[in-house]
């Protein structure tokens, strides 16, 4: 086994004539915190959408832990071990916090339960249901959301909603976690806390994390390596400090 978790080869997509992303080559090592940065419209979220199966890449392919996942559906990709959060929060708003996480646990093999078993309330149903709830509480504890587990998720403050989304993604037991602007809309304290949480879950759950972020402080405090995108092409790649000081990158951000 190599120590590469995610590998993309010449990954690209075009919408009509517009090349949204092209020639993306990433190699993310296991347990690495990898950043994907770039100005608005650079194609960062599109990369996430390709990696999670929302879009089919027009060129290239990608491998998770050596297994090619291109062309699989979103559900399959999730089961193979890629989970994500969304830039504009997508929680199940009419469900309580704990149930949101339990949806994330839905596909875990240890909680398998036939619908008809549930409809007839056979013992297996209770068994999986109770264990699921315990597990969900455990995950929520990590994020400090255990106290609010019975609130409706739409009633949570913004920062906690972001955390809940990460918790829910974590519940699917991923190998690779994609975080789409996790610190957006958080105050400095929350951001600091989030940095600790991200580091903690990486160690605790043995995760590889790829994140999109605008907050340069956040990125440089967290990521080992980054890739800078602009207009769908790679501007710079490598260690965080070096890549951020690349003249091309500075030009793209400050405008030259």
């Amino acid at each position: 086994m190599s120590d590469i978790m995610l590998k993309t080869e010449d990954l690209g997509i075009s919408f009509g004539g517009l090349k949204a992303v092209q020639g993306l080559n990433l190699e993310i090592k296991k347990q690495q915190l990898y950043g994907l940065v770039g100005p608005n419209g650079a194609g960062k979220t599109t990369v996430f959408n390709m990696l999670t199966g929302v879009y089919l890449p027009t060129t290239g392919t990608f491998f998770l832990d050596g297994e090619e996942l291109k062309g699989k559906t979103q559900e399959q990709i999730n089961q193979k071990g890629i989970a994500r959060t969304f830039q504009n929060i997508r929680l199940f708003n009419n469900m309580s916090v704990v149930r949101n996480v339990m949806v994330g646990l839905h596909n875990q093999p240890e909680f398998k339960c036939n619908p008809f078993v549930s409809m007839l309330r056979l013992p297996a149903h209770f068994d999986s249901e109770i264990r699921m709830r315990e597990k969900a509480k455990e995950i929520l504890r990590v994020f400090g959301l255990e106290e609010e587990r019975n609130n409706l998720s739409c009633n949570l403050p913004y920062g906690k909603q972001r955390k809940l989304e990460i918790a829910r993604a974590l519940a699917t037991n991923p190998k690779l976690l994609l975080l789409d602007e996790p610190a957006a809309g958080m105050n400095p304290n929350e951001t600091k806390e989030l940095v600790d949480i991200v580091k903690f879950i990486r160690d605790e759950f043995d995760l590889t994390i790829l994140l999109i972020e605008h907050d340069m402080k956040f990125v440089s405090g967290l990521c080992d390596e980054i890739t800078v995108l602009n207009f769908g092409t790679v501007l710079a790649q490598g260690e965080t400090k070096t890549a951020l000081n690349d003249p091309e990158v500075i030009k793209a951000y400050i405008g030259g």
Partner: protein
């Protein structure tokens, strides 16, 4: 040949009704289930005026006025309070309005069908087949209406405002378009078209019942969806397609009984192949 022409004229009727559905849908984003019953109102309006006055033109004019007013009143009292509410609620209200119109008609005119004749049209011979003048009239007037509607939407200020509202009503409001008035205008135009549709419909079948509008309403709605709901040329295309197919089926003794089933199967197949209808615009979901 006569089947085809007959189908085209039935198609024109469907297209006129479908235009009402499609315009209201495009602009107010709601299914006006009561639209079919506006046709029924129009038919009774013609019937009542013919009872008093024998001039069919006055009857037609009265019918147009009555339908337009009905459309505006429905919009004002049933749909306007629900603007911004869940579409399901609006749909249910529309169904309620449909029942209400049918109930009122039944209360006034009774549930038995009333037969009457607007005018006696003869038949003419075209390419060796007998064709009723009514059919040809329907075709010509229908075509004129559709062309002028297209021009209206494309060329006039109000028409462009309509397009703007259908794209993004919020943005249109910010640009100074009076959205409420545009929606009302749309209902008025749609209902006026329904009046014409009712005229042509009773030229084909010269009698009226309180449930007259139900079936053509559903068929026209189907036509609107086939063409791509929200699209004006789509409604015309869908209507004419459906009309022609209906006439062809009806004149074939093997499948005659299954006409309705065939038409609706066509709808399902088209939607499965093109989920937004023939000329509909697809919208993408943002992830």
């Amino acid at each position: 040949m006569s089947i085809l022409l007959d189908g085209l004229s039935l198609g024109a009727v469907y297209a006129l009704i479908a235009l009402g559905y499609t315009m209201v849908y495009g602009i107010a984003k709601m299914l006006n289930f009561a639209h079919g019953d506006v046709i029924m109102v129009g038919a009774y309006a013609i019937y009542s005026t013919l009872m008093l006055n024998t001039n069919p033109f006055i009857a037609i004019a009265v019918s147009i006025v009555v339908c337009t007013v009905t459309g505006i009143v429905i919009e004002k009292f049933a749909y306007k309070p629900l603007r911004g509410a869940s579409p399901l609620a609006v749909l249910i209200t529309a169904i309620g309005v449909s029942n209400l119109l049918q109930g009122i008609a039944q209360l006034i005119f009774g549930s038995t069908s009333r037969s009457f004749i607007i005018a006696n049209f003869g038949t003419v011979k075209i390419f060796g087949s007998e064709i009723s003048v009514g059919t040809i009239l329907t075709l010509i007037v229908g075509a004129i209406i559709m062309v002028s509607l297209t021009l209206f939407v494309k060329k006039t200020r109000t028409g462009r405002a309509m397009l703007a509202v259908s794209e993004d009503s919020g943005a249109a409001r910010l640009m100074g378009v009076n959205v409420d008035r545009i929606i009302m205008t749309t209902f008025a135009i749609g209902s006026a078209l329904a009046a014409f549709a009712s005229l042509f419909y009773i030229i084909r079948i010269p009698s009226t019942t309180p449930t007259l509008g139900a079936m053509p309403g559903i068929k026209a709605f189907t036509a609107a969806v086939i063409g791509g709901i929200g699209s004006i040329p789509g409604a015309m295309l869908g209507g004419i397609l459906l009309g022609v197919i209906e006439q062809i089926c009806k004149n074939n003794p093997h499948v005659e009984a299954y006409t309705t089933a065939i038409e609706f199967c066509l709808l399902i197949i088209i939607l499965l192949v093109k989920p937004v209808g023939l000329l509909g615009k697809r919208r993408r979901e943002k992830v």
